[in-house]
Amino acid sequence: MSFVQNFPFFSIILAMFSGIISSVLSGKKARNLTLMMIAVTTALSAGTLMFCLKTGESYTYMMGHFPAPWGNEIRAGVLEGVTAVLFGIVMFLSVTGGLDHTARDVEESKQNLFYIMIDLMLSSLLALIYTNDLFTAYVFVEINTIAGCGLIMIRQKGRNLSAAIRYMVMSQLGSGLFLIGLTLLYDVTGHLLMSPAKESVELLVATGRYRIPLLVIMAVISVGLAIKSGLYPFHYWIPDTYGYATPTGSAVLSGLVSKGYIFLLIKIFYRVLGYDNLVGTHMVNVLYLFGVCGMIMGSVHAISETDTRRMIAYSSVAQIGYIYMGIGLGTTAGMVASVFHIFAHSATKALLFISAVGLYEVSGDRKDFVSLRGAAFRNPLAGIGFSIGALSMVGFPMLSGFISKLLFATSALDSPEKMMPTLIVLAVSTLLNAVYFLRLVITLYSRRRPEDKPLPKQTTVRSSWALRLAIICFIGLNLVLGMSSQPIVQAITDGLAMFD
């Protein structure tokens, strides 16, 4: 066994330990430790990815000395590697971009708690990506939920508490459904490791036994994780949660956390339940329908928002809809498009949240349209960052959003009965995206009018270097995803092939 194969395990445990150590450190030290840890885990993930690309196959890694079908396992392949690297980068940049806001928004004595949450969050995300074991998945889903609640609550303003409680309730509902699904699955298959569970499922499907329970399992697991990732119509917690958390919190929650659940769902689809079985039982059609509704309704809600941060949050609802729509197409091409959109959206949404911070800073921390008028002149870099993010969301060419739209559209052409609705909804949703994002961009670049209320005395005049660096790197990430998508799409295709 090569030493590199230990890396996934190292990265999970490293993230966890730095969380534990952070609890006794001061805020500043915890911050430095966290940043270092994220950088190291990302490097480790990159190592894993390189290894998988070189060998061209995935491997499973036994934890402890209990061989299958007991014990628990980690599995790493190309897709896991790519996702882990990308999540690591987005996490690092989100934390960097929000540094001074974290310092301002969070009480001095609780700074280290914030970074503990980040550590735990990363560790659980990595575990969700790498796990080959359903029960481990469940445990980390819970850890992730708790860390997420902490991230929202730590700001300790009135609405944050209610947002956190709402998030908690909805998440627990999702986790509960997921747990019921796992329990049922354990009942009918007798396994918690993914590979043997899949063998049993295939056998059950072939013999036609337990048809109804299997259907229920598929439904409950899908809906459980869909609630946690904020698929329409289970999206009510999203705007409050993303709208009132700290900037880093919003970027991480919208860019990564919901995507982690979706990744887990895809993994379970492929490695446990069998994607063909889901297509066969028409389960995917339900997801497709929800996804399509989400694409439209998310944008409709976003249009009627005046608080720009809630608007960005509602746009997440629409984008999550895209992802589920791709999964629901029931083809490999659709799945590739969805996974690419996971990447594209986490890079873009985090860019939007982080550069929005730069714009709020120069508008007296106000978030409505009127106060933001002309903000792009007061903070040019943030203005450019936000415009690029918005254009990418709308789907302008050379940016990441364009590539995912293209992948969605071309994959839709393969499934005759879903082709027309998909193309039409894509077109309508793109237009709706354009309506609210471009309106905001124009607002940012228009001149303040005399009748506008004067801005309060500005708290910061110049953004910190950390914020600028984060914005520049996010823009770069977006351009890379948009302009040289080929290797990434190839890696996704290979990685999905390895899932079987």
């Binding site: 302008f396 559209a409 193309l423 793109t430 237009l431």
Partner: protein, 497 residues
């Protein structure tokens, strides 16, 4: 990156120069250096374009995905549009040196002015549909600041309208591109279309629908009904030099995109006699008539000219929609002629506004006493646009009408010429009153205002009058010697049809 690198120069140079102008602090204060850079870059651009157009070839710049790449090439269409763009952009640039002196924040205007010409060149040189789409979107974004320049409330609203119509149109077209990317492996332009029967078997209906979407979508930029609404709002609020290029060249980019889609990707044979062709002809003729009607009723000069653009660009669309060689020749020559004429008219309108502050046509009585030469240029261009021989509009309209009559498109072959004739009458009706009232204000006209403000004989400086005169002369001379342009259009028509 492989191929002829020269093709990149006319695209990249002005964009870089524009970014430099936007970023450089020098250009905010020092007007002289700004103007020097502007004119130098525009001259350089004309030279580079000429160089690129004569050297020809193609270049692949970037691979976007396995089947899509960003690449440029030069073919006859690129030559026609590229030469037109570079020449007109230079003339308008010279004009705006004087015109913009009364505007604020010139560096921003000129920065984007330079960027847009680079983007337009990219559009002209595009070798495939994806590249064209990329530059089409970039053109929308980079030309937006030209509309927004005043930054007044009206300008912002007009800019938003411009943006939404353009984006809506572009995404309508994107729908078609997605479809085409699905059926064809490679979207590189080839004369006569790239699709074969195997690719579209069983999807003919969808092909037609997506082609129609692309025509309507790209047609938004050309001001074709039903997405024409932005044009009469956006053009008048921009500074006159911006409205000139918006009207004269940016609308032609929509035409170029439609030509590329219909004649270089889908293939005219696939559309012949289908509902797409009929729908397209109907939309074009409706726009021709409606635009003229609205222009006739419009009292504000710049707005009137904008409506006239709506109508005239759809002449081009009508010629293209006939799918016959004669119609195609008429359309292409009208692209050139209308561009030259509309620039003359808008620039003349700009001169009037700057010198007198008059915006409505009825204020301009007795204009001949103020600026006889400018009004003369305006009159020549008007006559050319109406289509009175030997001015240029006559030639293109001749081809359009005879192309329609011999097209074999059933009822359209005689409805078309009738609409064109009626519209020509209306054109005379909305353009000539200014000339008549200007030169012959009548006995009761005392001209108190002209005397009071000492406007009599106040021709603009040569910086402004020169380009207007050159363009007006071109509008006349192209009509007297149309051979080279018509021959070029005919050779293109022979290739694609």
């Amino acid at each position: 990156m492989e191929g002829n690198v020269i093709l990149l120069l006319p695209v990249v140079c002005p964009i870089l120069a524009g970014v430099l102008v936007l970023a450089g602090k020098v250009f905010r204060k020092d007007r002289k250096s700004l103007m020097a850079v502007l004119l130098a870059v525009l001259l350089l651009e004309a030279g580079l374009t000429a160089w690129a157009l004569t050297s020809g070839g193609s270049i692949q710049v970037w691979r976007l995905t396995s089947q899509m790449n960003i690449s440029f090439h030069v073919d006859e269409i690129s030559r026609l549009f590229g030469a037109l763009t570079a020449a007109v952009w230079l003339l308008v640039g010279i004009y705006s040196v004087a015109y913009m002196s009364h505007e604020e924040e010139e560096h921003r205007f000129f920065g984007y002015y330079l960027i847009v010409v680079g983007v337009l060149m990219g559009l002209n040189f595009s070798a495939n549909l994806i590249t064209m789409y990329v530059f089409f979107e970039m053109m929308t974004l980079t030309s937006l600041p030209l509309v927004l320049h005043e930054r007044s409330r009206a300008a912002v609203m007009a800019g938003l309208k411009y943006l939404f119509y353009s984006v809506a149109g572009a995404f309508l077209a994107l729908f078609g591109i997605f479809f085409l990317a699905g059926v064809a492996e490679d979207l590189t332009f080839a004369a006569g279309g790239i699709l074969n029967d195997n690719m579209v078997a069983g999807k003919e209906g969808l092909l037609l629908a997506s082609t129609f979407c692309m025509i309507v979508g790209f047609g938004a930029k050309a001001g074709m009904f039903p997405l024409h609404g932005w044009l009469p709002t956006a053009h008048p609020v921009a500074p006159a030099c911006a409205s000139a290029v918006l009207s004269g060249l940016i609308t032609k980019a929509g035409v170029l995109a439609v030509i590329r889609v219909v004649y270089f990707i889908v293939g005219p044979d696939r559309l012949w006699g289908t509902w797409v062709q009929n729908g397209w002809i109907l939309l074009a003729l409706m726009t021709v008539f409606m635009g003229s009607m609205l222009a006739y009723k419009e009292p504000v000069l710049k707005k009137r000219l904008a409506y006239s653009t709506v109508s005239q660009v759809s002449y081009v669309m009508f010629g293209l929609s006939l799918l016959t060689p004669l119609g195609f020749v008429g359309a292409l020559s009208h692209v050139v002629f209308h561009s030259v004429i509309k620039h003359t008219l808008f620039l003349a309108a700009g001169v009037i506004i700057v010198t007198t502050g008059w915006t409505r046509v009825e204020q301009m009585r007795g204009l001949g006493r103020v600026m006889p030469l400018t009004l003369g240029c305006y009159t020549i261009a008007s006559l050319a646009l109406i289509g009175i021989p030997p001015a240029s509009g006559f030639v293109s309209k001749w081809y359009l009408a005879s192309g329609a009559l011999s097209s074999g498109t059933g009822i359209w072959s005689w409805v078309g010429p009738v609409v064109l004739l009626v519209s020509a009458l209306l054109t005379a009706g909305y353009l000539l009153p200014l000339t008549i009232q200007g030169y012959f204000p009548g006995h009761d006209f005392k001209g108190e205002e002209i005397e009071k403000r000492k406007l009599a004989g106040k021709e603009p400086s040569l910086w402004m009058l020169g380009p207007v005169g050159i363009l007006a002369a071109a509008a006349l001379l192209f009509g007297c010697f149309p051979d080279s342009i018509v021959a070029m259009a005919q050779s293109i028509a022979a290739m694609v049809l």
